[in-house]
């Protein structure tokens, strides 16, 4: 028999705040991608404002998780859920940071004459967006199969970033006068690649929470 416990209400509140934080992150990502080419300052300002909300949500999550641990001494699935939530919030806060870095670099593109984004950077954007969406779905829907697929797809982000890197390196050799733009492309690509890493972390967390197994570092044991 399952008894409705008071702590379930607090766990549900925690889940609600975490989902809200994830929605903020995804909105930031979408806005930052949509703003490429337009470089609208109001949109950037909105993204930076949302990032403050993301930080606030991380603090709320930490405080509520701390309270739940202090008052209810959660075990088993509840404990995994709490650990996963705290770790996931760290990833989300860093995702928001990376999106801000991506935006700051893309803002500088306004000043350059030559600012057409390379196709690979668009490919990277699309791939990362898909990974992040799936990462959030895996966590909130407890979808281990989807989480597994994210772990397999992480290499494709690394491969795209490698392609971008090689292209930038070649362009730098060919057109040293464009080096400022190319460095911004590199920084933007690096941020996207890191967001992909965080999406992978979310997938690993989803598996840990659901199955209690640690799949980080390709199944390394200790």
């Amino acid at each position: 028999m399952t008894i409705k416990r008071h702590q379930d209400a607090e766990m549900a509140e925690l889940q609600g705040i975490t989902e809200e934080m994830a929605n903020f992150c995804f909105t930031m990502l979408e806005l930052s991608f949509q703003n490429i080419g337009k470089y609208d300052q109001d949109v950037y300002d909105r993204i930076f404002d949302i990032e403050i909300e993301v930080n606030r949500h991380q603090m709320k999550i930490d405080d509520l998780a701390w309270k739940i641990i202090a008052l209810y001494q959660p075990t088993a699935g509840d404990l995994r859920n709490l650990i996963g939530t705290i770790k996931g919030a760290v990833d989300m806060e860093r995702i928001a940071d990376e999106i801000c870095t991506f935006c700051r670099r893309s803002m500088t593109l306004r000043n350059y004459q030559w600012k057409e984004l390379p196709t690979t950077l668009f490919d990277l954007q699309n791939r990362v967006k898909e990974l992040l969406k799936n990462g959030f779905t895996a966590i909130f829907s407890k979808d281990v199969v989807l989480a597994d697929s994210i772990l397999l797809a992480d290499d494709s982000v690394d491969a795209l970033f490698q392609t971008l890197f090689e292209w930038i390196r070649d362009e730098m050799k060919k057109s040293p006068d464009r080096i400022d733009t190319l460095l911004d492309f590199l920084s933007m690509g690096r941020s996207l690649e890191r967001i992909g890493d965080h999406a992978t972390n979310l997938a690993e967390i989803a598996i840990f929470v659901e199955k209690g197994t640690d799949v980080r570092h390709h199944g390394l044991t200790f």
């Binding site: 008894i3 409705k4 416990r5 008071h6 008052l71 209810y72």
Partner: protein
């Protein structure tokens, strides 16, 4: 009148020459759950019991200081103890139903309180059993002996008996100590429901239980109230190192 239903100020209690409680200052808010924790012999049960004047008959016992309930000094010689106990119910460590039926366990107190109407008594029995989530299980067994129920049901029956006379305060002295974890969880959830209507003070050996169910917690040690604070604050950031040691299991 004070915002607090129970207020102790510089309260001392003696068993003969032994000082069981020393300069206790505590305020209990309405519709809150206040937990008293501490190692054996710290005085937590004594503090609970003197809130209901249950130590009056202990030879040599003595209260010094102020203990106000509903704004009135309950150790005033003119204070009506019967009235106090009508408003301050008590639930004990071991379930102690009367050797009678489920119905009579509840109805007895209602009659003593002056209600004789059969329908009113039946309604009160139903309300009290419903409040402790026993009505659906026991409505067809009202003539069943109360002492033959499971321990969990017996304890809930005792809580129903306590609230049948509509007290404002419920004192609970380790109400889950003889129950298994599932039954304990049920009582804890019941405490959460009851605090909507009643003000509860609970003594518990389990600091985890105090953390789970209470709004305020007091930590007693050797007769002193070391710390009294909101439960969340006390379990997250205790101010006194002695509290920290106790709640993190480093005491003794």
């Amino acid at each position: 009148m004070s915002a607090f239903l129970i207020e102790a100020r510089n309260l001392n209690f003696y068993y003969g020459t032994f000082e069981a409680l020393r300069s206790i200052n505590i305020s209990v808010s309405q519709n809150s759950v206040t937990a008293l924790i501490g190692p054996s012999g710290c005085g937590k049960s004594t503090l609970l019991r003197i809130m209901n004047r249950m130590c009056d008959l202990i030879p040599g016992s003595r209260v010094v200081g102020s203990l106000r309930v509903f704004g009135r000094e309950i150790y005033d010689p003119n204070y009506d103890v019967t009235e106090l106990r009508r408003n301050v119910g008590m639930v004990f460590q071991h379930p102690n139903p009367f050797p009678s039926t489920v119905f009579e366990n509840i109805a007895f107190g209602i009659r003593i309180a002056g209600e004789n109407g059969k329908e009113n008594i039946l309604r009160s029995v139903e309300e009290s059993l419903s409040a402790v989530d026993l009505w659906s299980d026991l409505k067809d067994r009202l003539n069943f002996p109360g002492q033959n129920l499971s321990m969990d049901f017996q304890q809930r029956l005792c809580i129903a008996r306590a609230i049948a006379i509509k007290p404002q305060i419920l004192l609970m002295d380790e109400p889950c100590s003889s129950l298994d974890p599932i039954a304990t969880q049920k009582i804890e959830e019941l405490i959460f429901e009851l605090k909507k209507k009643y003000t509860i003070v609970i003594v518990t050996h389990s600091m985890h239980q105090a953390a789970r169910v209470s709004d305020f917690t007091g930590y007693l040690l050797k007769g002193d109230l070391i710390e009294f604070d909101r439960t969340e604050s006390l379990f997250k950031r205790p101010k006194d190192t002695r509290t920290e040691e106790y709640i993190s299991g480093k005491y003794g």
